[in-house]
Protein backbone atom coordinates (compact mmCIF):
# COMPACT_ATOMS: atom_id res chain seq x y z
CA UNK A 1 0.00 0.00 0.00
CA UNK A 2 1.24 3.51 -0.86
CA UNK A 3 2.36 5.88 1.88
CA UNK A 4 -0.50 8.44 1.67
CA UNK A 5 -3.16 5.70 1.61
CA UNK A 6 -1.72 4.14 4.71
CA UNK A 7 -2.03 7.52 6.42
CA UNK A 8 -5.67 7.86 5.36
CA UNK A 9 -6.43 4.32 6.52
CA UNK A 10 -4.81 4.98 9.88
CA UNK A 11 -6.83 8.20 10.17
CA UNK A 12 -10.08 6.37 9.33
CA UNK A 13 -9.28 3.64 11.85
CA UNK A 14 -8.52 6.22 14.53
CA UNK A 15 -11.73 8.09 13.67
CA UNK A 16 -13.86 4.93 13.83
CA UNK A 17 -12.28 4.07 17.18
CA UNK A 18 -13.11 7.52 18.56
CA UNK A 19 -16.68 7.27 17.21
CA UNK A 20 -17.10 3.76 18.62
CA UNK A 21 -15.97 4.83 22.07
CA UNK A 22 -18.19 7.90 22.00
CA UNK A 23 -21.28 6.23 20.55
CA UNK A 24 -24.30 5.44 22.68
CA UNK A 25 -24.56 2.09 24.39
CA UNK A 26 -26.85 -0.61 23.05
CA UNK A 27 -30.10 -1.00 25.06
CA UNK A 28 -28.70 -4.16 26.68
CA UNK A 29 -25.43 -2.42 27.60
CA UNK A 30 -27.30 0.61 28.96
CA UNK A 31 -29.52 -1.71 31.04
CA UNK A 32 -26.40 -3.45 32.38
CA UNK A 33 -24.77 -0.08 33.16
CA UNK A 34 -27.91 1.12 34.97
CA UNK A 35 -28.17 -2.15 36.93
CA UNK A 36 -24.54 -1.89 38.08
CA UNK A 37 -24.92 1.85 38.71
CA UNK A 38 -27.82 1.19 41.06
CA UNK A 39 -25.49 -0.83 43.30
CA UNK A 40 -22.77 1.86 43.44
CA UNK A 41 -23.25 4.46 46.15
CA UNK A 42 -22.65 8.11 45.33
CA UNK A 43 -19.64 8.94 47.58
CA UNK A 44 -20.79 12.51 48.21
CA UNK A 45 -24.49 11.79 48.91
CA UNK A 46 -26.53 10.15 51.65
CA UNK A 47 -27.30 6.61 50.51
CA UNK A 48 -28.06 7.49 46.88
CA UNK A 49 -26.90 5.32 43.98
CA UNK A 50 -24.86 7.12 41.30
CA UNK A 51 -27.74 6.62 38.84
CA UNK A 52 -29.96 8.90 40.95
CA UNK A 53 -27.45 11.54 41.96
CA UNK A 54 -27.00 14.72 39.92
CA UNK A 55 -23.57 15.40 41.48
CA UNK A 56 -20.64 15.88 39.12
CA UNK A 57 -18.71 13.02 40.73
CA UNK A 58 -21.61 10.56 40.33
CA UNK A 59 -22.15 11.56 36.72
CA UNK A 60 -18.44 11.07 36.04
CA UNK A 61 -18.49 7.69 37.77
CA UNK A 62 -21.50 6.65 35.68
CA UNK A 63 -19.69 7.74 32.51
CA UNK A 64 -16.64 5.74 33.60
CA UNK A 65 -18.90 2.76 34.33
CA UNK A 66 -20.50 3.01 30.85
CA UNK A 67 -17.07 3.02 29.24
CA UNK A 68 -16.17 -0.12 31.15
CA UNK A 69 -19.40 -1.82 30.03
CA UNK A 70 -18.59 -0.91 26.41
CA UNK A 71 -15.09 -2.31 26.96
CA UNK A 72 -16.74 -5.65 27.83
CA UNK A 73 -15.82 -5.78 31.51
CA UNK A 74 -18.00 -7.97 33.71
CA UNK A 75 -20.24 -6.74 36.52
CA UNK A 76 -17.84 -8.14 39.14
CA UNK A 77 -14.86 -6.48 37.49
CA UNK A 78 -16.63 -3.11 37.42
CA UNK A 79 -17.90 -3.21 41.01
CA UNK A 80 -14.44 -4.48 42.05
CA UNK A 81 -12.87 -1.48 40.28
CA UNK A 82 -14.90 1.01 42.32
CA UNK A 83 -14.57 -0.98 45.58
CA UNK A 84 -10.77 -1.11 45.17
CA UNK A 85 -10.71 2.70 45.01
CA UNK A 86 -13.48 3.79 47.34
CA UNK A 87 -13.62 0.77 49.64
CA UNK A 88 -16.54 -1.63 50.14
CA UNK A 89 -18.64 1.25 51.51
CA UNK A 90 -19.19 2.38 47.92
CA UNK A 91 -21.24 -0.77 47.30
CA UNK A 92 -24.92 -0.52 48.20
CA UNK A 93 -25.03 -4.32 48.22
CA UNK A 94 -22.10 -5.12 50.54
CA UNK A 95 -20.20 -8.34 49.74
CA UNK A 96 -20.93 -11.25 52.08
CA UNK A 97 -17.48 -11.55 53.65
CA UNK A 98 -15.46 -10.27 56.60
CA UNK A 99 -17.18 -7.91 59.02
CA UNK A 100 -20.02 -7.54 56.50
CA UNK A 101 -21.04 -11.11 57.35
CA UNK A 102 -22.38 -9.71 60.63
CA UNK A 103 -24.84 -7.65 58.59
CA UNK A 104 -26.20 -10.73 56.87
CA UNK A 105 -25.91 -13.27 59.68
CA UNK A 106 -26.90 -10.94 62.53
CA UNK A 107 -30.64 -10.91 61.80
CA UNK A 108 -30.69 -14.69 61.18
CA UNK A 109 -28.91 -15.37 64.48
CA UNK A 110 -31.23 -12.91 66.26
CA UNK A 111 -34.31 -14.64 64.77
CA UNK A 112 -33.07 -18.12 65.76
CA UNK A 113 -32.28 -16.93 69.29
CA UNK A 114 -35.68 -15.22 69.49
CA UNK A 115 -37.57 -18.34 68.42
CA UNK A 116 -35.52 -20.46 70.84
CA UNK A 117 -36.26 -18.07 73.71
CA UNK A 118 -39.96 -17.90 72.81
CA UNK A 119 -40.22 -21.71 72.71
CA UNK A 120 -38.47 -21.96 76.06
CA UNK A 121 -40.74 -19.30 77.55
CA UNK A 122 -43.92 -20.90 76.23
CA UNK A 123 -42.89 -24.34 77.51
CA UNK A 124 -42.14 -22.94 80.93
CA UNK A 125 -45.43 -21.04 81.23
CA UNK A 126 -47.37 -24.11 80.07
CA UNK A 127 -45.72 -26.39 82.62
CA UNK A 128 -46.18 -23.69 85.26
CA UNK A 129 -49.90 -23.57 84.44
CA UNK A 130 -50.14 -27.31 85.06
CA UNK A 131 -48.18 -27.11 88.26
CA UNK A 132 -50.29 -24.27 89.75
CA UNK A 133 -52.87 -26.47 91.50
CA UNK A 134 -50.16 -28.62 93.03
CA UNK A 135 -50.52 -30.63 96.21
CA UNK A 136 -48.66 -28.22 98.39
CA UNK A 137 -50.88 -25.30 97.44
CA UNK A 138 -54.05 -27.31 97.89
CA UNK A 139 -53.03 -28.36 101.34
CA UNK A 140 -52.61 -24.76 102.22
CA UNK A 141 -56.17 -23.78 101.24
CA UNK A 142 -58.28 -22.56 104.05
CA UNK A 143 -61.59 -23.95 105.18
CA UNK A 144 -63.53 -21.63 102.95
CA UNK A 145 -61.96 -23.12 99.85
CA UNK A 146 -62.59 -26.61 101.15
CA UNK A 147 -66.27 -25.77 101.53
CA UNK A 148 -66.44 -24.31 98.05
CA UNK A 149 -64.88 -27.43 96.61
CA UNK A 150 -67.22 -29.67 98.47
CA UNK A 151 -70.22 -27.72 97.24
CA UNK A 152 -68.99 -27.80 93.68
CA UNK A 153 -68.42 -31.53 93.94
CA UNK A 154 -71.96 -32.10 95.16
CA UNK A 155 -73.39 -29.77 92.53
CA UNK A 156 -75.05 -27.63 95.16
CA UNK A 157 -75.56 -23.93 94.48
CA UNK A 158 -74.07 -21.60 97.07
Amino acid sequence: MQGPWRGVLALLLALSFVLASAQALSPAQEAQAQAIGRTIRCPVCQGLPITESPSELSQSMLRDLREQVVAGRSTDQITGYFAARYGDTVLLDPPRRGVNLLLWLGPVVAAVLGVWWLALYLRRTRSAAIIVPDAETEEEQDDYMARVKAEVAHGRPS
Binding site: P43, E56, L57, S60, R63, A84, R85, Y86, V90
Partner: protein, 189 residues
Protein backbone atom coordinates in the same frame (compact mmCIF):
# COMPACT_ATOMS: atom_id res chain seq x y z
CA UNK B 1 -51.80 -16.02 103.30
CA UNK B 2 -48.21 -15.56 104.48
CA UNK B 3 -47.32 -19.07 103.30
CA UNK B 4 -48.22 -18.11 99.70
CA UNK B 5 -45.96 -15.07 99.61
CA UNK B 6 -43.11 -17.12 101.07
CA UNK B 7 -43.42 -19.76 98.37
CA UNK B 8 -43.07 -17.28 95.47
CA UNK B 9 -39.26 -16.69 95.55
CA UNK B 10 -38.72 -20.43 95.94
CA UNK B 11 -40.59 -21.07 92.65
CA UNK B 12 -38.47 -18.65 90.56
CA UNK B 13 -34.78 -18.88 91.45
CA UNK B 14 -32.73 -16.53 89.20
CA UNK B 15 -29.68 -18.19 87.69
CA UNK B 16 -26.51 -16.08 87.37
CA UNK B 17 -26.59 -16.56 83.58
CA UNK B 18 -30.10 -15.14 83.35
CA UNK B 19 -29.18 -12.31 85.65
CA UNK B 20 -26.02 -11.16 83.85
CA UNK B 21 -26.82 -12.02 80.22
CA UNK B 22 -29.06 -8.98 79.45
CA UNK B 23 -26.57 -6.40 80.79
CA UNK B 24 -23.73 -8.18 78.98
CA UNK B 25 -25.67 -8.11 75.68
CA UNK B 26 -26.54 -4.43 76.22
CA UNK B 27 -22.90 -3.57 76.98
CA UNK B 28 -21.72 -5.45 73.87
CA UNK B 29 -24.21 -3.56 71.69
CA UNK B 30 -23.17 -0.18 73.14
CA UNK B 31 -19.48 -1.09 72.62
CA UNK B 32 -20.14 -2.11 68.98
CA UNK B 33 -22.04 1.15 68.38
CA UNK B 34 -19.21 3.15 69.97
CA UNK B 35 -16.55 1.48 67.83
CA UNK B 36 -18.65 2.02 64.70
CA UNK B 37 -19.21 5.70 65.45
CA UNK B 38 -15.66 6.51 66.48
CA UNK B 39 -14.03 4.65 63.61
CA UNK B 40 -15.48 6.97 60.95
CA UNK B 41 -14.58 10.18 62.76
CA UNK B 42 -11.79 12.61 61.98
CA UNK B 43 -9.07 12.23 59.40
CA UNK B 44 -8.31 8.87 57.90
CA UNK B 45 -4.80 7.63 57.40
CA UNK B 46 -5.48 4.27 55.76
CA UNK B 47 -7.18 4.09 52.38
CA UNK B 48 -8.19 1.28 50.02
CA UNK B 49 -5.31 2.14 47.65
CA UNK B 50 -2.57 1.89 50.29
CA UNK B 51 -0.23 -0.96 49.36
CA UNK B 52 -1.37 -0.94 45.72
CA UNK B 53 0.20 0.56 42.61
CA UNK B 54 -0.70 4.22 42.16
CA UNK B 55 -3.10 4.64 39.20
CA UNK B 56 -1.37 6.19 36.20
CA UNK B 57 -2.33 9.66 35.01
CA UNK B 58 -1.27 12.22 32.44
CA UNK B 59 -2.88 15.60 33.04
CA UNK B 60 -2.50 19.19 31.93
CA UNK B 61 -1.02 21.71 34.30
CA UNK B 62 -2.53 25.16 34.86
CA UNK B 63 0.24 26.52 32.64
CA UNK B 64 -0.62 24.25 29.72
CA UNK B 65 2.13 21.65 30.20
CA UNK B 66 1.57 17.95 30.85
CA UNK B 67 2.69 15.86 33.80
CA UNK B 68 2.29 12.11 34.04
CA UNK B 69 2.97 9.78 36.92
CA UNK B 70 5.33 7.87 34.63
CA UNK B 71 7.43 11.03 34.20
CA UNK B 72 7.92 11.10 38.00
CA UNK B 73 9.04 7.48 38.19
CA UNK B 74 11.95 6.98 40.55
CA UNK B 75 10.89 9.92 42.73
CA UNK B 76 8.70 9.83 45.84
CA UNK B 77 5.51 11.80 45.14
CA UNK B 78 3.09 13.69 47.37
CA UNK B 79 -0.13 13.87 45.35
CA UNK B 80 -2.61 16.33 46.83
CA UNK B 81 -6.20 16.69 45.60
CA UNK B 82 -7.63 20.12 46.33
CA UNK B 83 -10.16 22.75 45.23
CA UNK B 84 -10.39 26.52 45.61
CA UNK B 85 -13.76 26.17 47.37
CA UNK B 86 -12.33 23.81 49.98
CA UNK B 87 -11.62 25.45 53.35
CA UNK B 88 -9.31 22.78 54.88
CA UNK B 89 -7.24 23.03 51.67
CA UNK B 90 -6.42 26.60 52.67
CA UNK B 91 -5.01 25.36 55.97
CA UNK B 92 -2.74 22.78 54.38
CA UNK B 93 -1.63 24.86 51.36
CA UNK B 94 1.16 26.65 53.32
CA UNK B 95 2.38 23.29 54.68
CA UNK B 96 2.60 21.86 51.15
CA UNK B 97 4.23 25.03 49.83
CA UNK B 98 6.94 24.78 52.52
CA UNK B 99 7.45 21.12 51.60
CA UNK B 100 7.66 21.87 47.87
CA UNK B 101 10.44 24.39 48.49
CA UNK B 102 12.62 21.49 49.63
CA UNK B 103 12.01 19.34 46.54
CA UNK B 104 14.79 18.64 44.09
CA UNK B 105 14.84 17.49 40.48
CA UNK B 106 15.49 13.88 41.42
CA UNK B 107 14.06 13.82 44.93
CA UNK B 108 10.59 14.46 46.30
CA UNK B 109 7.89 15.74 43.92
CA UNK B 110 4.84 17.62 45.19
CA UNK B 111 1.94 17.62 42.76
CA UNK B 112 -1.55 19.05 43.16
CA UNK B 113 -4.68 17.89 41.33
CA UNK B 114 -7.66 20.23 41.13
CA UNK B 115 -10.82 18.32 42.06
CA UNK B 116 -14.30 19.26 40.84
CA UNK B 117 -13.51 22.93 40.40
CA UNK B 118 -14.59 24.53 37.14
CA UNK B 119 -13.69 28.04 38.25
CA UNK B 120 -10.18 28.36 36.79
CA UNK B 121 -9.98 31.99 37.84
CA UNK B 122 -10.49 30.97 41.48
CA UNK B 123 -8.00 28.10 41.09
CA UNK B 124 -5.32 30.49 39.77
CA UNK B 125 -6.13 33.02 42.52
CA UNK B 126 -5.67 30.23 45.09
CA UNK B 127 -2.25 29.25 43.77
CA UNK B 128 -1.18 32.91 43.72
CA UNK B 129 -2.55 33.63 47.20
CA UNK B 130 -0.53 30.79 48.73
CA UNK B 131 2.38 31.19 46.29
CA UNK B 132 2.19 27.53 45.29
CA UNK B 133 5.29 26.82 43.26
CA UNK B 134 4.48 23.14 42.64
CA UNK B 135 2.38 22.15 39.61
CA UNK B 136 -1.38 21.84 39.87
CA UNK B 137 -3.03 19.51 37.38
CA UNK B 138 -6.49 19.85 35.89
CA UNK B 139 -8.82 16.83 35.97
CA UNK B 140 -11.86 18.12 34.06
CA UNK B 141 -13.53 14.71 33.65
CA UNK B 142 -12.58 13.57 37.18
CA UNK B 143 -11.01 10.46 35.64
CA UNK B 144 -7.90 10.65 37.81
CA UNK B 145 -9.94 11.59 40.90
CA UNK B 146 -12.12 8.50 40.41
CA UNK B 147 -9.07 6.33 39.74
CA UNK B 148 -7.75 7.44 43.15
CA UNK B 149 -11.16 7.07 44.84
CA UNK B 150 -11.34 10.74 45.77
CA UNK B 151 -14.72 11.83 47.12
CA UNK B 152 -13.97 14.95 49.10
CA UNK B 153 -10.97 17.23 49.25
CA UNK B 154 -8.42 17.53 50.64
CA UNK B 155 -7.02 14.06 50.10
CA UNK B 156 -3.32 13.31 49.88
CA UNK B 157 -1.54 10.21 48.59
CA UNK B 158 2.06 9.39 49.44
CA UNK B 159 3.60 7.42 46.55
CA UNK B 160 7.03 5.82 46.88
CA UNK B 161 9.84 5.67 44.28
CA UNK B 162 8.47 2.42 42.86
CA UNK B 163 5.07 3.98 42.22
CA UNK B 164 3.27 2.25 45.13
CA UNK B 165 0.80 4.10 47.33
CA UNK B 166 2.24 3.90 50.86
CA UNK B 167 0.24 6.52 52.72
CA UNK B 168 -3.08 8.34 52.55
CA UNK B 169 -4.50 11.30 54.40
CA UNK B 170 -7.96 12.79 54.28
CA UNK B 171 -9.34 15.89 55.92
CA UNK B 172 -6.37 18.26 55.91
CA UNK B 173 -2.68 17.79 56.58
CA UNK B 174 -1.01 18.96 59.73
CA UNK B 175 2.80 19.07 60.05
CA UNK B 176 2.61 15.87 62.12
CA UNK B 177 0.40 14.00 59.64
CA UNK B 178 2.57 15.18 56.74
CA UNK B 179 5.63 13.91 58.60
CA UNK B 180 3.96 10.53 59.14
CA UNK B 181 3.12 10.26 55.43
CA UNK B 182 6.59 11.30 54.30
CA UNK B 183 8.11 8.71 56.61
CA UNK B 184 6.18 6.00 54.75
CA UNK B 185 7.83 6.94 51.44
CA UNK B 186 11.29 7.30 52.91
CA UNK B 187 11.46 11.09 52.85
CA UNK B 188 13.10 12.85 55.79
CA UNK B 189 11.72 16.39 56.08
Amino acid sequence: MTTQTESTPKATPVSPLKRFLPPIIAAALVAALGVGLLRGNGGQVGGPLVGKAAPAFALQTLDGGTISLASLKGRPVVLNFWASWCLPCRDEAPILRDLSEKQTATGLAVVGVVFSDKNLKAVRAFTQEYALAYPSLLDPNLNTSIAYGVSGVPETFFIDKEGMVRGYDQGGLTPERLQAGLGKIGVVN
